[in-house]
Every structure is written in C-alpha cells, then in structure tokens.
Symmetry: C2
Subunit: 190 residues, 2 copies
DNA sequence: GGGATTGATAGACTCAGTCCAGAAAATGAT
DNA sequence: ATCATTTTCTGGACTGAGTCTATCAATCCC
C-alpha cells in the first residue's frame, strides 16, 4: 500500500507525514478554523501548492484515520472476505488512540456544517460499500428498496457503534465490542 | 409559517422566491457549478449581499424542498405526534414533483463531494431528530449505543425509501408507500 | 549527456462566504 | 410632520479554499 515504486521520476519528499504533523499541531494550538492551509504548509516547510498534491481538501486532514479504516474495509471486502468478518477485522485493528482529529476538534464540528458534511461523506462511502457487498436476494435488482434499506441501516449501526465508542472516553471497551453489540441489534440480513 | 409580521422595519421585497426561481433557471441552463451566486442575484435583480440574507450557502438552493419536509417533520414531532405517524404524514404531503434540484443536478452530484455532503447534512439532521423522538427504554441513557443504533438505522431506512422513490421516475408510487415498506424492514422499535 | 517521467514550486485566478458601514423603507411616538 | 427606531437592501472590501498553468528539480533509463 505504501510504496511499491522504484520507477522513474523525482521521488516524493517526506512531505505527506510532515504536513499531517504540522496540521495536527496547529489544530491543537489554534483550532481547525483558525488555521489556514498556508500556515500548515509553512510549518511543514513545503509550498502551498504541494498540499494539494497530497490532500484533496483541508477537511481531509480531519479524517485520515477514518479514511484508512475505510480503505482497509474496501480491501478486505474486495478480497472476498465476508462482510461481518471484514467489519470485525477492521474494528479490531483500530486502537484506542485512533480518534480522528475531527472529533478532538468537535467544538468546531458542532457549529460548522462543513465538518459534519466532510464526516458524512465517509458515511456515504461506507454505505455504498455495504450496498455492494451485501448479498442480493433472489430476483432483487441493484436498486431494490430492500437492499438499500439493509445497506443504510447497517451503515447507521456501524456509525452508531463508532460514535458511541468515541464518546466512551479513553477507558472505553474496544471498538470491536461496540460493533458486535450494534450489529446484533440489526438482524436484517443473514 | 410564512409571515405573521406587521411590525416595524423595512418590509422584505419578494426577493426569496425571485432568487429561487432565478437559480432554478440558471442551474438548468448552466448547471450548478457553472453558475455563480453573482449570476443568480443579477438575474433576480438583487444584490449579492442579499443572497446571504436568505440562504446560508449556495448549496441550500438544492435542498429547499427537502429542508421544508424536515421542518414539517420537526414541527409534527414537537407537537407530540408519534414518530411513525409523523413520518407518514410528511411523506403523504410530498407530491411527485417535489424532487429537489440536487437530484436533477445529479451529474454534478456524482462527481462533487460538496453536493453529496450538503445532502448528507440533511440526513444527519433527520437522524438527530429521530434520536430525540425515539422512545427511550428503561434505564437507557441519552447516549446509549442501542438508542443510537435505532435512530441511525431508522434514518438509513427513511433515506433509502426516499432515494428509491426518486429513482422510481415520474410514474412511481407515492413516497408514503416506499416509506411504509422501508419501515417494515426495520422492526427495531415499538 | 539526453530524453522521459514525476514531484515541487510560484503565482495568478475564481468564487464562496464574512463583515461592515451606510442608504432605503417602513412603524410608532411626540 | 418630524424624529427615533427597526429591519432590509446594497456596495465594497476582505479572507481563504481550491484550480490551473508554466517552470524548475530530481530521478531513471538509454
């Protein structure tokens, strides 16, 4: 995943990690909205233009960990792993410190639709993934209402588990436990 | 709802409707992203600043009908109507033409996260509303996992119903039918 | 060394969204 | 009628995200 590259071109500087670190520091010091992309790149020692080589938008910085988990889930599902097993696997890989910056910056989240929205884009991605991974019942079309309901409800449950886990504070149970309980409540499929 | 005002101050020009109409026209002619707020307000004959007296953001224009439905739902729930009855009421009020601009502009939606995000903000609003309206079980806290799962799953089902209804095309069944079927699939509460 | 490829940079540009000071239009009181 | 007050409308300046383009730098392969 990281870099199986040996071929042509100028090698990337270590910019990505540097930018992430600079951003995390500045968000703590000044908050998300109080920090500009220019400040981040200045502290990271790169140009502003470089930022957009690595990230599509400022809010991407808030969801790095979540995006990583979603990518892992996509990998597992594509490799043929059963859905619930894949979900459990990814949950087990998420350590107690993997709380996205978006949540520690939640004062901003409360007021600003922009941040809520950037988070929900991830939810939509999960829902779409689930919809493609759920077993279709006989004669059921790709856009069946029942399929959509199952996918969305399941996504809702996954998100609820994750949200409650976050709110559980530092001494909470592992995410996998929350997920198990949440999935038990939606006995929609299998 | 509209205007029970007789008191002081300069009366509003008919600006709001004018802006909505101008925007709808321009979005059809030029697409959402091809239209600037300045163009909209020019056609509507008001200043750019006035736009932000009526709408919080450009993307609000895409969700006027959805926002109206959500507000109705909030009213009904606050007035003490049972949740499922309130949902059914609002669904029954939604005519076949009430497809938000966001959907007719869906070519833009497909590619641009911004539009997905603006729509999902509405989903979050619905989920929050459901969470506050769902009956709490005995000894269940405000941030209970089970409560969150029920609220989110239900929101997912509502959204699935709405989405399938939209996709059903012009000769589809009433939204209320889709909603009934979707809710029947999530037998989580009551 | 000479391409070819890829990454980094600078700079200009568009546009959404914020802010503010002031003009315009109404009301009610004196 | 005049004045103070309240609310809307307007113009203009400003910030900052995101796009685009041209150019330079670093690496590989020949």
């Amino acid at each position: 995943m990281k870099s199986e590259r040996m071929s042509a071109g100028r090698p990337r500087a270590s910019s990505r990690d540097t930018i992430e670190e600079a951003a995390a520091e500045l968000f703590l010091e000044q908050s998300y909205h109080g920090t500009t992309i220019e400040e981040i790149t200045q502290r990271a020692g790169v140009s502003r233009a470089t930022f957009f080589n690595y990230f599509g938008s400022k809010s991407d910085l808030l969801w790095i960990d979540a995006d990583h988990a979603i990518e892992r889930l996509e990998e597992l599902v594509e490799s043929g792993k059963p859905l619930r097993a894949a979900l459990a696997s990814v949950a087990a890989e998420v350590g107690p410190e993997r709380v996205p910056l978006a949540v520690t910056q939640s004062d901003a989240m409360g007021t600003r639709d922009e941040l809520v929205a950037s988070g929900l884009v991830r939810v939509a991605r999960v829902a779409a993934l689930l919809r493609s991974a759920l077993p279709q019942e006989a004669g059921e079309g790709r856009h069946s209402l029942a399929l959509n309901v199952r996918a969305n409800s399941l996504a809702g449950a996954v998100v609820a588990a994750w949200g409650s886990w976050i709110m559980g504070g530092i001494d909470r149970a592992p995410l996998a436990d929350y997920l198990r309980d949440a999935l038990a409540l939606v006995q929609l499929e299998q």
